[in-house]
């Protein structure tokens, strides 16, 4: 039978039809011509006569194109190339999209596997980006936040490069600088709210009146403070946070001007801040004018302020820093007693709020990026395998005149469709992930920023999805476009992508998956290692069965020292008598709350140090039962007793580090230190005991010299933490202990009710957060890499079924065949591990600030993780290899 296709196509050429459409028409016409030809033969015509009669059907050379043109007019207006010629991107795109959609529906298993891998990768990226976006990228909710800075005292000489300034220095800075529009002072303060409902302790700030204009925020109700209210005696006014206003005052719209009771005094509410306002953190509920007294303004020794400033327009951070250097240098000259070696440091407000968490977040973002890369490699491998199966389809397309460009575009459309579906599912994954993240996100992050998804996150996901699709789609697309058409057609559909190039690409992908997983696993391993070491740090006390709560006495009501100490004596007494309580004590600051309270001391027998450069000692003022309650071991000497009172000789218990530092090689007991005014004999206190070191700030820092003073000898303290050693579950006693406080004073708020275990947990929450997340990502990476190795090995074994069959038929042992198959897999894995180790050496250095007790190139971690990966890879390649040995040689040979 003659081939009519060319004849038909020739006559359609002028129409420039879409290739698929043209192919259909050609097919339909050719059949018709076949029928005519056969009928003619049947009627007795010769072959050439029959051929002519058939071709006669195509006569009327003009008729056909003209008639068809009328029918296919719309296509003619948007012509699409068959083999050559112009192209129409949009039409092609929709055509490809429809086709891609059909392809996905036809292979649900493939689609599901690919989408899961992508959704995990994109979802993890979206979730972490949401956090990064909320914490690092979203501008602070103030006017022109870029111009807001914090100004610190630079006391680097004493180990505090960013110290809180003293009032007098703040005042001089404010008056002498030339770079700031304004400067405001802020100080921590907590208030006991009474009068409506249960007494409550509120975190708040004392602030300069100009703070709010400086931030550029307006209150929702009422007004902010006037300069007149920022004066001693006139500052009994308060601004409420939106949350407090809703919770305690029922959202009363006429609250402005009404009095509320704080610390036993009446304050007039001047306004309510908007819901989205927080300064500095969401913990802060009330703001009160700071109202410096003339004594405050002269004080250069009490360093407790935080200072916010707004740069003048056009002034850079560096210029501000230079100007503040000048001011600080002038003050050094002017006040050598207090300001020697004291500089000034300017940091952006943003840096101040989120600077600590930034490295961890960026590392996590990098880690999820790597997870996504692995997911890409996996999907690329899947696509490559499928492309091999689709060779015939491609051959037909090329035969019909499809150009390489066009094929690549079609393949990319398919992969981008896949990645977009992955992205949509990934958004769901990310949303769920964020809900989970919220559960163990450190408070220090959640107080600073609201973690949420916004348009920027959606845009990020879209971008990531598209780029992902491009990355994993490119390899199969290029591969598909490069194949040899005639070979494929000749081979009758047998897979020719097993050729060396296909195998090489797949091998490379597996190697990179292994390398990237290794980097992630090592990173996670280092963090886990650090975290375990952190958990094993002896905090210096026993945290189990300890209940803690904060009971801060309002100063006006408890102005006299005797009243305060009487309250605490009674409290400890009553709590100790409760059922289930072993002992109880009070302290100024619990360990690990990250709070300071250090004072400078002089050591007897050593020359006095210049002012401002004394030996700085962490100081805690405690009740006698504290060491027993906290199980802090006494190393020598004695503890405090009920006899250590104001009228008895002043005594101190010091830590072992302090004893070692100031009296090396001597017995510290009986030695004296000067705390306060060394001219006054009563300010010299005698060491009566030495206790073990306690990690007062955090577990990562080396313990500094510490001392403990008895609470009935010292009148200065601001906050009092109650700590109770229980015989039962400490949390179960919380309500009872709180009731005991209210039995003594019904208006006394109780706050921060926590077990010591919780405090310990919170102190390492940030490390746990990074460790857990990186471990999860590394786990996902390991699974993805294992799946990738398994897939490639299965494929390679399946391709070699024939060869394996022959080997086995010729008498090869199972073991030999296994070795053959596994060794290929292991070769890839070892290659990947070598690359991964090199990369890990280079990359883990960026996370050295997150590590504790291990170096960034810890050899144990590197070795163990490599072995783990080899083991997993061995299993992933053993399973398909094992299957290969089960091949029946007969079937394998017939498989052709």
């Amino acid at each position: 039978m003659p081939d009519w296709n060319d004849e038909v196509r020739k006559r359609l050429a002028s129409l420039r039809l879409q290739p698929t459409q043209e192919a259909e028409i050609v097919e339909e016409f050719a059949q018709h011509l076949d029928d005519v030809y056969e009928r003619s033969l049947a009627k007795g015509a010769s072959e050439s006569e029959a051929r002519l009669m058939a071709l006669n059907e195509l006569a009327d050379t003009n008729l056909l194109p003209n008639e068809l043109k009328r029918v296919h007019k719309p296509f003619h207006e948007a012509p699409v190339p068959g083999g050559a010629g112009r192209s129409n991107l949009l039409t092609d795109f929709f055509q490809d999209l429809r086709y891609a959609g059909r392809m996905q529906l036809k292979n649900p298993a493939f689609t599901i596997v690919a989408v899961i891998a992508l959704a995990l990768g994109i979802g993890a990226n979206t979730a972490i980006f949401s956090v990064v976006n909320s914490v690092l990228l979203r501008p602070l909710p103030y006017k022109d936040p870029d111009r807001l800075v914090m100004v610190w005292e630079d006391a680097s000489k004493f180990g505090y490069p960013r110290d809180t300034p003293a009032t007098a220095n703040f005042v001089d800075w404010r008056d002498q600088n030339t770079v700031f529009e304004g400067m405001a002072a802020i100080s921590d303060e907590s208030f006991n709210l009474t009068g409506t409902g249960d007494p409550e302790r509120l975190e708040g700030r004392l602030v300069s009146a100009n703070l709010f204009p400086l931030l550029g925020v307006e209150p929702q109700i009422g007004r902010t403070f006037t300069a007149a209210e920022d004066q001693p005696g006139s500052n009994k006014v308060v601004l409420l946070s939106h949350a407090l206003w809703q919770r305690r005052f029922g959202g009363d719209n006429s609250i402005a001007g009404k009095p509320i009771n704080l610390n036993g005094e009446s304050y007039s509410v001047v306004g309510v801040m908007p819901a989205r306002f927080q300064f500095p953190t969401s913990d802060d509920q009330v703001w009160v004018p700071i109202a410096f007294t003339s004594k405050d303004i002269a004080n250069r020794n009490r360093h407790y302020l935080q200072v916010l400033a707004r740069l003048k327009p056009g002034v850079t951070l560096e210029q501000a820093q230079t100007d503040m250097h000048t001011v600080a240098a002038r003050l050094q000259q002017q006040y050598p007693d207090s300001n020697t070696d004291l500089g000034a440091a300017v940091t952006s407000l943003h840096e101040h709020l989120v600077g600590d968490i930034k490295p961890a977040l960026l590392i996590l973002l990098g880690a999820v990026g790597l997870v996504l890369l692995i997911a890409c490699a996996n999907v690329a491998n899947l696509l490559l395998a499928r492309a091999a199966v689709r060779q015939k389809e491609i051959a037909v397309r090329v035969a019909l005149g499809a150009r390489r460009q066009r094929l690549i575009r079609q393949f990319l459309t398919e992969s981008i469709l896949l990645s977009t579906i992955g992205g949509v599912v990934g958004l769901v994954v990310a949303y769920g992930g964020l809900l989970l993240l919220r559960a163990f996100i450190p408070e220090s992050i959640s107080q600073t920023a609201q973690i949420s998804m916004d348009l920027k996150v959606l845009g990020f996901t879209l971008l990531v999805s598209l780029v992902t699709g491009l990355i994993f789609g490119l390899a199969p697309a290029v591969q598909a476009a490069r194949f040899n058409q005639t070979e494929t057609l000749k081979e009758g559909g047998r897979d020719s992508a097993t050729g060396s190039s296909g195998k090489r690409i797949r091998g490379l992908l597996v190697m990179s998956e292994v390398a990237v997983s290794l980097v992630l696993l090592i990173g996670a391993g280092l963090l886990i290692n650090s975290f375990l070491r952190l958990r094993n740090v002896d905090p210096g006390f026993r945290s189990d069965n300890l209940l803690t709560m904060r009971v801060v006495l309002p100063i006006p009501k408890y102005a006299e020292f005797e009243r305060r100490s009487a309250f605490y004596t009674e409290l400890v007494q009553r709590v100790q008598n409760l059922a289930g309580v072993k002992s109880a004590a009070v302290t100024t600051n619990l360990p690990l709350y990250r709070q300071g309270n250090s004072i400078g001391v002089s050591i007897e027998g050593q020359p006095p140090l210049p002012p401002g450069q004394e030996n700085v000692v962490v100081t805690r003022i405690i009740s006698p039962g504290y060491f027993d309650t906290m199980s802090i071991p006494l190393l020598s000497g004695r503890q405090f007793t009920d006899q250590d009172i104001r009228t008895s000789p002043r005594v101190v218990v010091i830590s072992e580090t302090m004893a070692r530092r100031y009296w090396p090689g001597q017995d510290a007991i009986g030695k004296r230190i000067g705390a306060g005014d060394i001219e006054r004999p009563e300010d010299w206190i005698q060491v009566v005991g030495v206790v073990k070191d306690v990690h007062q700030f955090d577990l990562t820092a080396e313990p500094r010299p510490q001392m403990y003073l008895p609470y009935r000898q010292w009148g200065f303290f601001e906050s009092r933490d109650l700590v109770v050693k229980t015989e039962v579950d400490p949390a179960s006693l919380a309500a009872t202990v709180r009731r005991t406080v209210w039995e003594i004073d019904k208006d006394q708020p109780v706050s921060n009710i926590r077990t010591m275990d919780e405090i310990l947990g919170e102190s390492i929450a940030r490390q746990r957060f990074s460790m857990l997340l990186l471990a999860i990502f590394a786990g996902v990476a390991l699974i993805l890499a294992a799946v990738g190795i398994y897939g490639v090995m299965s494929y390679s074994v399946a391709q070699r079924t024939h060869e394996i069959g022959i080997r086995m038929a010729l008498g090869a042992q199972t073991g030999a065949v296994l070795k053959l198959a596994v060794s290929y897999g292991l070769k890839l894995v070892v290659g990947g591990i070598v690359i991964g180790l090199i990369a890990a050496f280079a990359l883990t250095r960026v996370m050295s600030t997150l590590l504790f007790g291990v170096t960034a190139t810890d050899p144990t971690t590197f070795t163990l993780i490599s072995l783990l990966l080899i083991a997993v890879a061995a299993i992933a390649s053993y399973i398909p290899a094992r299957r290969a040995t089960k091949v029946n040689p007969i079937i394998a040979l017939r498989y052709e």
Binding site: E24, I25, E28, F29, Q31, H32, L33, D35, V36, N56, E57, L58, A59, D60, L63, L64, E67, L68, R70, V71, H72
Partner: protein, 110 residues
């Protein structure tokens, strides 16, 4: 062979009638027209298929590739619901037209 214009005017009616009872492929349709008209009406590929495509485009008939065991796939055309209405209407007007011609020319029905 009939005059081209006349043929064209009636051709749609012919095709619609032929696919009314059962779907048919192009060659089938062409052969049936030729046979039933006793050879008077004849469409070749160049004239038949553009017509089919045009009818399909108007939504009166619908073509579909059908594979039958042991045969190559072929494109079968069937009458759509809309095609049915058109066919009924065209039949009517054709009958009126023929009757009008008959009355004038005196040609009687067979």
């Amino acid at each position: 062979m009939l005059d081209r214009e006349l043929k064209k005017g009636s051709a749609e009616l012919l095709i619609l009638s032929l696919v009314e009872d059962q779907p048919r492929h192009g060659y089938d349709i062409g052969t049936l027209i030729e046979r039933r008209s006793g050879g008077t009406l004849r469409f070749n590929v160049a004239s038949l298929y553009p017509l089919l495509y045009r009818l399909e485009k108007r939504g009166w008939i619908q073509g579909r590739w059908v594979e039958k065991a042991g045969q190559r796939r072929r494109r079968y055309y069937r009458l759509t619901a809309e095609g049915k209405k058109v066919l009924a209407a065209q039949r009517n007007s054709w009958r009126e037209f023929v009757e009008a011609i008959s009355r004038i020319t005196g040609i009687e029905h067979a």
